[in-house]
Assembly symmetry: C2
Homo-oligomer: 134 residues x 2
DNA sequence: TTGACAAATGTAATAACATCACATATCGAA
DNA sequence: TTCGATATGTGATGTTATTACATTTGTCAA
């Protein structure tokens, strides 16, 4: 299966919940939103989330235990450059960006130290432009 | 109070547990290690951890829900440069480093986007040099 | 010294996040 | 059609973190 194709029923429901949200959602928030669609247990959500993470359609924000739909599904190639997230602690907005210099510096460190990197998390918490002017 | 001074009893116990560990510990692991010292409830650990984080003596690893004693308490100035952690998924070893170029690039992004950064997490998961040769 | 306030501690209960174990169903290829 | 891989349903359990409230300890000024 390729990334943007033929999701199963549960995967579609979970992805759509994230896609229509204006910010990150926790697994249990998703569960509550999908009760009327037949969801009864956390595992139904977590299994779908795992697949969607595999497909690169969503991201997990480790610092807030939440999940967000990928903001740039067509433009950035997950798996190559590292992705950074700026998370507003006021409104929950998440901005996603990729920086080749950061990616390069991390690679230099890992190569220099014989560290075989598998996954890298870069999360910036703070207050977004909108919320600081308001 | 300054950072490396006069911890309270509980703060000392928690800090020493982290300092003598060879890797990160979860709050509940610390709790279990301190049962004989009178610890009975998670909050006793979490409260001490919060203070030690304030003092910059320990770090929280968001991607693994664990805490680690600062590896460079005298050399790096927490609060200025951002700190990155390389976490071995085999042995648990954590290497801590700080990179001015990464710090600068993140600052460029946040300044350019009007984002007021408060805390930044950079965590690299993978396998350390020792574990990949073994 | 004592009264008052801040900081630290003790404890139980609860909330929030995530996985295990096992049964059943669905789908596609041999 | 039969087999294996994938997906699903469900309850129980495991793990991480916080709320609420009572008590103790330390500090300092009146
Ligand atoms: Zn993305
Ligand atoms: Zn905001
Ligand atoms: Zn440190
Ligand atoms: Zn290792």
């Amino acid at each position: 299966m390729t990334a943007t194709q033929e999701l199963t029923k549960n995967q579609s429901l979970v992805f759509n919940a994230l896609a229509r949200a204006d910010g990150p959602l926790s697994a249990y928030t998703i569960l509550d939103q999908l009760r009327n669609d037949g969801f009864r247990a956390p595992l139904q959500v977590y299994r779908a989330l795992d697949k969607l993470l595999d497909y690169g359609m969503i991201h997990r924000l480790e610092s807030i235990n939440a999940f967000v739909a990928c903001a740039h599904p067509h433009t950035h190639s997950h798996g190559h450059g590292m992705i950074a997230f700026a998370i507003c602690e006021k409104c929950g907005q998440v901005s996603e960006f990729s920086d080749d210099v950061i990616t390069g510096r991390v690679r230099e460190w890992t190569n220099g130290n014989g560290f075989k990197q598998s996954k890298t998390t870069i999360e910036i918490r703070g207050v977004c432009a909108n919320c600081s002017t308001a």
